[in-house]
Each structure stands twice: as structure tokens, then as C-alpha cells.
């Protein structure tokens, strides 16, 4: 059995979720005895391919073409379709990125196949691979299995697998796979990429969130939490009362009337843990709660808790993080 992992790069920089997908593939390979092929797509990706080859995979494919230099759904779909036809993998794994959302279902459908997208886990049971994904905005999990013939396509949610747990020790040499693409097959004309101060915050994409509650007492204390967010590489968020007061914009609200998030780390600072808030964050992988009330319900959903004065603990934390960098 063969698993093809399609990594993602842009302008020579990895989307690091690609390594999480490798970790997922390695787990599946351990369970099923499958071999792993890892692919890089683009133009002039030789260096990236070599880097990939240092990881424990059976082979690395370099899929290169002028028309793959800039991402287009047509380009990537047509190229990978050809690769899949020749390489004949059973599974094709992707990281669930904005780009993968844009073309991978199309790729699967062009081969008459389906895709299980945004998986948060993988299990091997009764000789079958069961893919776990969330439904109803994270309120439920679903066990999904493929039907019909290979190839089977799946993408994995950022943070579901640990990129730092990928096994190294690969010895293969990257192999270039030729693909045939013509300019008139590419209907999208991609223009320049640019950065913008986002008008709306998408907390659902933040891997780390530092959220504040009424324990912060005054809006003048918010910079304390913002410094922590900066030190830890997280986004600032809040429970409803903070946003109601206008101390933070509405888009920063987490809870039943705000956003539902499941980052890899959620820090609840001065948040009591009323159910209205908890339903918006209890799916987070690791939850840290800091509250001066030992009986605050937030501690029931926390992995780590500190009972104490947040005005002392938060600065201490910020300092500790700066030290350990």
C-alpha cells in the first residue's frame, strides 16, 4: 500500500503543516505497513525536495513545471492527476490549508473519487483506516471511512498531528516527475500576493489564543494580556462581557455567541468558565486556566490550572517565556 503526501510550499517557504501531514502518514504507515511517497510541487523546488528526503519516507517526488511556479487550481489539479495516474498511490494526504481547500476536492473529483477533509485524527480498526473529523462546528466528532476504489484523498487539520514528531532518517534521493501542462489549461490568472492588516480576525485559524475575562477588571489592564499573547505567539481573545463593554472588538469574542475555536493552546485568564464561554473553546487541545477562584468552573475543562492573582502570574509568565526563548 502506498501513501502519497502532497506537501505545500510557496515561494520556497514550507507551509509547516506539511510536516504534520507527514506525521499522520507515518502513523498510518506504522498501522498498515504502507510505504510513503512525499511530493513537493512547484518550480525550482530541488532544495525543498532534498530537505524532505531527510525524513523517513520511502521516496520523494519533485513535481516541477513552469506553470506550477504560481499556484492555480487548474495547474495543481492537472499535474497531480498525472502523477497519481503513474504513481498509483492508495492514499493521498494533504495538510488542510486554504490552498488545499481550493483544489484538492477538485483533484479527487476529477478522478471520480472523494475526499475526507479536515481530519483531526486517524485510527486503525479491523484492518481499516478510520478518519475522524469534526461536525456541527466542533460539537461532535465523526468516524468516516472510504468507500469504493483507491485512490482515497484526505486532508488533516492544522495542529491535529505534531510536526515535531515526524521520524527522520530518510535516505532516498528525490526523483523528478515530469508533468505536461499547457497555458490554455490554466484558467486562473494569479496576480500579486500582498499583506494587509486584516480587518476581521479569524480566531479559528490561530494556533494559540490568550483569552481574557472579567478578572482583567479594567480595560487599562489589557496590555498585560497582550504582552503575554505576543510572547507566546498567540492571538488575544475574550469572553463576552469584555466585548460587550467594548474593551475588545466583537470579533475577539469566544463563546456561544462569538467564535468557536479549538487551537492547540488556549489560555483562559480571569475567565470563570460559564458554559456560554466554555462551549466556544472546550475543543482546544491544551487548556490553561488562571483564576483567583479555586472553584471557578473553568478548572474543570483545563489541563493545567493556576489559582492565583493574574496580575502577578501573567507578567511572570511573560517573563519566563522571554527567558526561555
Amino acid at each position: 500500500m502506498k501513501i502519497l503526501v502532497v506537501t505545500e510550499q510557496r515561494e520556497g517557504q514550507w507551509n509547516r503543516a506539511s510536516f504534520e501531514t507527514l506525521a499522520a502518514a507515518q502513523q498510518a504507515a506504522r498501522d498498515t505497513g504502507a510505504s510513503i511517497s512525499a511530493a513537493v510541487v512547484g518550480k525550482g523546488v530541488g532544495a525543498l525536495a532534498k530537505e524532505l528526503a531527510a525524513h523517513k519516507v520511502a521516496e520523494v517526488l519533485s513535481i516541477e513545471h513552469d506553470l506550477l511556479e504560481k499556484y492555480t487550481p487548474d495547474g495543481y489539479t492537472l499535474a497531480l492527476k498525472q502523477v497519481i495516474s503513474t504513481e498509483k498511490p492508495d492514499f493521498v494526504f494533504f495538510p488542510h490549508t486554504y490552498q488545499v481547500r481550493d483544489f484538492a476536492p477538485k483533484l479527487a473529483a476529477s478522478l471520480g473519487r472523494g475526499m475526507i477533509a479536515d481530519c483531526v485524527g486517524l485510527r486503525h480498526e479491523n484492518g481499516k483506516l478510520i478518519f475522524v473529523r469534526q461536525m456541527f462546528q466542533g460539537k461532535t466528532a465523526a468516524d468516516v471511512v472510504f468507500q469504493g476504489d483507491a485512490p482515497w484523498f484526505a486532508s488533516f487539520q492544522a495542529g491535529a498531528f505534531r510536526g515535531d514528531q515526524v521520524e527522520m532518517g530518510g535516505t532516498s534521493s528525490p526523483r523528478t516527475v515530469a508533468v505536461d501542462l499547457k497555458p490554455d489549461q490554466i484558467r486562473t490568472k494569479p496576480l500579486e500576493l500582498f499583506r494587509e492588516a486584516k480587518q476581521a480576525v479569524d480566531l479559528t485559524q490561530a494556533p494559540i489564543i490568550v483569552a481574557i475575562g472579567r478578572g482583567i477588571k479594567e480595560p487599562t489592564n489589557i496590555p498585560l494580556a497582550e504582552k503575554l499573547a505576543q510572547a507566546i505567539g498567540g492571538e488575544i481573545a475574550a469572553s463576552r462581557p469584555i466585548c460587550d463593554e467594548g474593551w475588545l472588538p466583537m470579533e475577539r469574542q469566544i463563546g456561544s455567541s462569538g467564535q468557536t475555536v479549538a487551537p492547540k493552546l488556549y489560555m483562559a485568564i480571569g475567565i470563570s468558565g460559564a458554559i456560554q464561554h466554555v462551549v466556544g473553546m472546550k475543543g482546544s487541545r491544551t487548556i490553561v486556566a488562571i483564576n483567583k477562584d479555586a472553584n471557578a468552573p473553568i478548572f474543570e475543562v483545563a489541563d493545567y490550572g493556576i489559582v492565583g492573582d493574574l496580575f502577578e502570574i501573567v507578567p511572570a509568565l511573560t517573563e519566563e517565556l522571554a527567558k526561555s526563548k
Binding site: N15, P73, T97, Y98, Q99, R101, D102, P105, K106, A108, A109, S110, G114, M115, I116, A117, D118, I130, Q134, M135, F136, K139, T140, A141, A142, D143, V144, V145, F146, Q147, G148, R162, T188, K189, L191, L193, F194, R195, E196, A197, K198, A200, I232, S256, L265, K282, T286, V288, F299, E300, V301, A302, D303, Y304, G305, I306, G308, D309, A316, E320
Partner: protein, 256 residues
């Protein structure tokens, strides 16, 4: 500009979910339903484009009888016609199967644009727009923040991760998945609601459309994930507790 907007009726965001043991779908009794919020943004975008360029907006929905409510809401907001692909077992369809039903209905329309929301609040597959593009043989783009249409071509602003954006150009007809939150959906007015009663909703079945999808995946069961959490309380002075926490986050939880 003739626009088809795909809308889905989903369980209300705050509906308590009851899952029969081992089932692959929730119990639908005693819960409220509403228009899928991401689709609301797509509908608003479609209505604005029609107001700017002329033409009509058709609201298309796949689902049981109650899905007509989502279509009616779209009509009340200004869509001209509705198409309901009636299917009581819609929840058994995989993303490709749903898209095949919708594509077959869209093929009966002459349209310049097909708009979808990013994903549904129930299944959350997030694939419908992209699959429609493939099945209809049309170019597409997703996570669209802004649409400029002129001379049969589209200039679109696409959102990427981490604060990056990109402009892309596409010919029409095309399929677009609209990013959530890019507009404030309008309210249906009393006059709009009354006018909607007189607007046409065509009902079609899989048989009418000649669609017989073969499943590519199956949801075996859905369940509320069980949390087996043991909270570790970290003690000591503020400095000590902070140091312990950073250590745990780095080496135990491995999130830093």
C-alpha cells in the same frame, strides 16, 4: 448577471444536539433550523452583484421539505426564483454526491456565476463549491473577499493564511466560494416576505435530475467526543507557577 446561490438549511447554532446511540446523524425532532450562516454571506454577495449588474438570483437548496424555508428566506431578501432538490436522506450523501445533485440542477439554468458559502454548519465538508466547479467544468476560486465583474471577466480578492491576500482573474461563468463575514446580510423586509410568497420554487428529485451518486465515503457514526481530562494544578509563587507552566507546555503538552 444570472447568479445561482447554493443555500443550505442547517440546525440552529444553539440547538441542543441529540445523537441516537451509534447513529450517523442527529435527531432532528424538537430543534430549530436556520439558513446556514456562511451561505447568508454568499446570498448577500449575489444580491449585491445582481443589483449592480442586473439579472436574477436563483436560490438553490438540497434537502428535505423544510429546506424550502431557506429558499423562502432567500426569496424574501430578493432572490427571484428558488429551486429545491428534494431529498429526505440528504445527510447520507457524501460531498461528491451532494455536489452531483446540485450540479445537475445548475446545468438546467443559464448562469454566469455560482456562489456558495465556505462550508455548512452541520456537515462542514467545505467542498461543495470546488466540486461544483469540477462537475460543471467551470473555473473557480475560494475564500473570496471581493468580486469585481466586468466584460465577462472577474477580478477576485482571495484570502490566504496569516494575513496574506491575492488578486486573481477568472473568466465567467465561474464558481465562487464566498468568505464569511465580508458583508452584513440584509434583513428580509415585510414587503419582501410577502412578495416571496408569489415567487416560484421548482421542486426536483434525484430521479428528475437523473443523478444516482455512488458514495465515496461513509460516516459510520457521530458522537460527542469524551473528555478524559485531569486538571494538573500548578502551585507555588507566581514565578514558580509560571516556570512550571512553561516547562509543562514545552515538554509535556508540547505546544510551544
Amino acid at each position: 448577471m444570472n447568479i445561482v446561490v447554493c443555500v443550505k438549511q442547517v440546525p440552529a447554532k444553539d440547538a441542543p444536539l441529540a445523537i441516537p446511540e451509534g447513529a450517523a446523524w442527529i435527531r432532528e425532532t424538537d430543534i430549530g433550523f436556520e439558513l446556514n450562516e456562511p451561505d447568508g454571506y454568499a446570498l448577500e454577495e449575489g444580491l449585491r452583484l445582481k443589483e449592480k449588474h442586473g439579472g436574477e438570483v436563483v436560490a438553490l437548496s438540497l434537502g428535505p421539505e423544510r429546506s424550502k424555508q431557506a429558499i423562502k428566506e432567500a426569496l424574501a431578501k430578493g432572490a427571484e426564483r428558488g429551486v429545491h432538490v428534494s431529498d429526505d436522506k440528504f445527510y447520507e450523501l457524501d460531498p461528491l454526491g451532494s455536489a452531483q445533485c446540485l450540479a445537475a440542477a445548475i446545468k438546467r439554468e443559464k448562469c454566469d456565476l455560482v456562489l456558495t458559502g465556505l462550508q455548512s454548519d452541520d456537515h462542514g465538508f467545505g467542498q461543495t463549491g470546488v466540486l461544483l466547479a469540477e462537475l460543471l467544468g467551470l473555473p473557480h476560486a475560494t475564500i473570496i473577499m471581493q468580486i469585481d465583474a466586468a466584460d465577462g471577466r472577474l477580478k477576485l480578492k482571495r484570502e490566504l493564511e496569516a494575513g496574506w491576500f491575492q488578486w486573481v482573474e477568472l473568466p465567467m461563468p465561474a464558481v465562487l466560494s464566498i468568505q464569511s463575514g465580508i458583508n452584513k446580510p440584509r434583513y428580509a423586509t415585510l414587503k419582501g416576505i410577502m412578495a416571496a410568497k408569489k415567487k416560484e420554487i421548482t421542486t426536483l428529485t434525484r430521479a428528475d435530475l437523473g443523478v444516482a451518486p455512488s458514495p465515496t465515503q461513509r460516516i459510520e457514526r457521530i458522537y460527542i467526543p469524551k473528555k478524559t481530562k485531569k486538571t494538573e494544578m500548578l502551585t507555588g509563587s507566581a514565578k514558580e507557577a509560571a516556570a512550571k507552566l512553561v516547562e509543562k507546555l514545552k515538554h509535556e503538552a508540547r505546544v510551544l
